[in-house]
Symmetry: C2
């Protein structure tokens, strides 16, 4: 039966892979701790029509389909399930149009974020969403997870830049959602429903993206504080000031020490927190950065550095860029992604320190402080099963705390399988039931990425 | 049975109205040409719990429910259907919280937009969505229709400011969607699905709104052009410039003549189009307005006026404010709401002129040009049935043209009953079927605003 299905796939598209080694190398995304099943085959369609044919065959044969982009996700949403067909969008990688007049791009889902960003920049335009995976992740994957990034604090997240989609449904039918112009309220917002649905409602085969005029040059400021409280208060004051920083990042003391241990950045060990801020308003960035520096000083900053050019700006951001490398050398990293109201950030950070103590694990807290979206990262020794168990407990405790503070379990990484259990807590029974009914409305046979988002 | 139902309503809430005169005065919103049925009763609940009780009773008795806010809609979405219960949100009118630190407001749906806007401004904050009905329309109604307005061109529409909702479902169950912090990707975006659903999926009983720091003072520029082409080209150049005008409006020649006939604004009759632009960046608005003026001059403007203070700004905007009054004195106005890519605006406007000629009707074309969202307004004599028939044909032809140009039949006014037929064309059969299934997932008995959006 497996052979017959693969033969049928080969009758509708050329790129069908059933080599076990290749399949094995495609089973996982970048999530830690998420199981991955054994796929039946991998297909790389090159057109919407091929995706339709694949979905028709999968529906007829009741074969589950897992759509994959760059497989850089952090929640297991792109992991294989047993007996599934992996549908890779990597060959649907054409930028179909960049319109300067309408400030939109029309792309296939497999276009890498960085390729698109560079292509539009050449035309004086800007596609803001910048997840840290941007050099590898695809627009389709960014849409599936509603990816964020550093510059969301000013520009918003992926969903804010998706005007319309072409989507192949589980049945193989194709539907166009949304529109090309800026405004439109015709019917239910299916576009937003599909953005962030992690491949459970349909396969995106084309997207119309909103672009902006390219930003001007950027300057950065960095400020160190004695305490968490001072750093968070300064961040809140920057956000309340009317300035619109294009980046506002926070590093806590454990993270700063890990960075300093990894590479000597001259960071004193008694620094309690650090803020990094950026303005991308060209000639006005100098004033913006000065005002941010003043605000930080007024909130008790020990030291404030203002970059005067791009090179100094890059140096000041170096600490932020080194976070992952500095933490990964300490052990396995389990990256959380809670998002809370800014007024709750100090309570969140204090509570996370308590969770670290309680479960005897290291937790580091960098984050997108302007949006209240923190990445508490539990680091442990994978060879120590007891430490792993404690790390997972701490990971859950951080999400519980985030929910208790009026936040969400995930600001930008998504649910996948990693957080499907906690999603049920966040949604509650009525919300969960609505999710199940919407899933059934799109995919009555539960073939699209089954077990992801909804268990 | 009717009496029994009303008795049961009175057992769960105080404000139950069955006086035929009062009911009659609540049958309609502001739409022209939309039929309204005869309601059974009107209730004005004062709490979420009362809304839940009302929905439970309505579900048990299979009585359709039409939710109403300020009834200022333009598509008949708030019109009664025969035998329905009108559920007015006017007594759910509390601003529950305004948080300066989190930059959010939590409100009940019956709060009038202007009341909220003024309340948050007192705390140095800003709720941007500004539909022209803002002095009368409610936040709940704005959510139901995903209302736009003049400043969307810079700030976005209602949905861009809705973080989370509390919603009572047809069953009487209550669900909370979304979140309070800026970012969150936990599960499907039910918030966005409900925004713009025109009361067909649930009754919004509370909303958490994103606020921004209050804008600085604003200045306005007005430019006249010989042709439509020049005005549209100048608008496109302003949008491409990297400036972010907080208002960018277009008036065509027929509209300008109607305004001049209504009140002498010194507008020469040979002016082919006018642009109005605003910058709300305080001290920098002077420079912004100068740059806009330069762009207009470079695109062949006959005359450009730059305001130097608030009073002059208001004077320049006077023409825009007089549009409705100037058109309504000429006859019945049937206001369309097509939105097209900016690159198609000239073709749209030329095509609309042809439609006016073909159907022998007057069509005026003011619009939010920065977003490509125009309001072609067919004006005719209601006492002339032949003129009315031609007006309706022209109205449909404008939407067909908008769709053909890659646009949508509605940028901000919604579907209601007025455009339910055309929505089917815009969605296509697969999209329509998805809409029906989503509707059934939320409201299996089809009791919430039946016949609206979906016929």
């Amino acid at each position: 039966m497996k052979d017959e299905f693969i033969d049928r796939l080969r009758s509708v598209l050329a790129d069908v892979v059933d080599d076990p080694d290749i399949l094995d190398s495609h089973r996982n995304d970048h999530a830690t701790f998420c199981t991955a099943g054994v796929p039946l085959a991998l297909v790389r369609p090159t057109s919407t029509a091929e995706v339709q044919e694949v979905m028709r065959l999968a529906s007829e044969s009741r074969v589950p389909v897992v759509t994959q982009g760059g497989r850089t996700g952090l929640s297991g949403a792109a992991n294989a399930v047993d007996g599934c067909l992996l549908l890779s969008t990597t060959r649907l990688n054409q930028i179909l149009e960049i319109s300067v007049e309408d400030q939109v791009a029309v792309v296939q889902p497999g276009v890498v974020n960085a390729s698109l960003s560079r292509a539009v920049l050449e035309k004086g335009l800007f596609y803001p969403p910048d997840p840290s995976s941007w050099e590898m992740s695809t627009i389709g994957g960014n849409i599936a997870t509603n990816a964020g990034g550093l510059c969301c604090v000013k520009y918003g997240v992926t969903s804010d830049f998706i005007r319309g989609l072409e989507v192949v449904l589980a049945s193989g039918e194709v539907v166009r959602t949304g529109r090309r112009p800026a405004k439109g309220v015709a019917g239910y917002d299916l576009t937003r429903l599909i953005v962030g649905s992690e491949g459970t409602l349909g396969v995106v085969t084309e997207a119309t993206l909103a672009l902006r005029p390219a930003p001007e040059s950027a300057l950065t400021a960095a400020a160190t504080f004695r305490t968490i409280e001072d750093g968070i208060a300064a961040a809140a004051a920057v956000m309340a000031s009317g300035l619109r920083p294009s980046l506002l990042e926070f590093l806590d003391q454990p993270t700063l020490r890990a960075i300093q241990d990894y590479r000597d950045m001259g960071l004193p060990s008694d620094v309690g927190s650090m803020l990094l801020a950026q303005s991308d308003r060209g000639a006005r960035a100098v004033d913006d950065v000065s005002r941010i520096a003043e605000i930080c000083t007024a909130h008790g900053a020990i030291d404030v550095a203002e970059a005067s050019d791009a090179e100094e700006s890059a140096m000041l951001l170096e600490a932020r860029r080194l976070v992952n490398a500095a933490l990964e050398r300490l052990g396995v990293t389990l990256i959380d992604d809670v998002s809370v109201p800014r007024s709750q950030l100090v309570t969140l950070l204090r509570g996370i320190a308590d969770i670290g103590t309680k479960y005897d694990v290291l937790i580091f807290c960098p984050g997108h402080v302007g949006d209240g979206n923190m990445h508490p990262t539990v680091v442990f020794d994978r060879d120590d099963p007891a430490a792993e168990a404690r790390a997972l407990q701490a990971f859950g405790a951080v999400m519980e705390l985030g929910l208790r503070l009026g936040g969400t379990i995930t600001g930008e990484h998504g649910i996948g399988t990693l957080k499907a259990q906690w999603l049920e807590t966040e949604l509650g029974p009525v919300g969960l039931e609505l999710h199940r009914r919407i899933k059934a409305a799109f995919d009555p046979l539960n073939l699209l990425n089954p077990g992801k988002v909804l268990r």
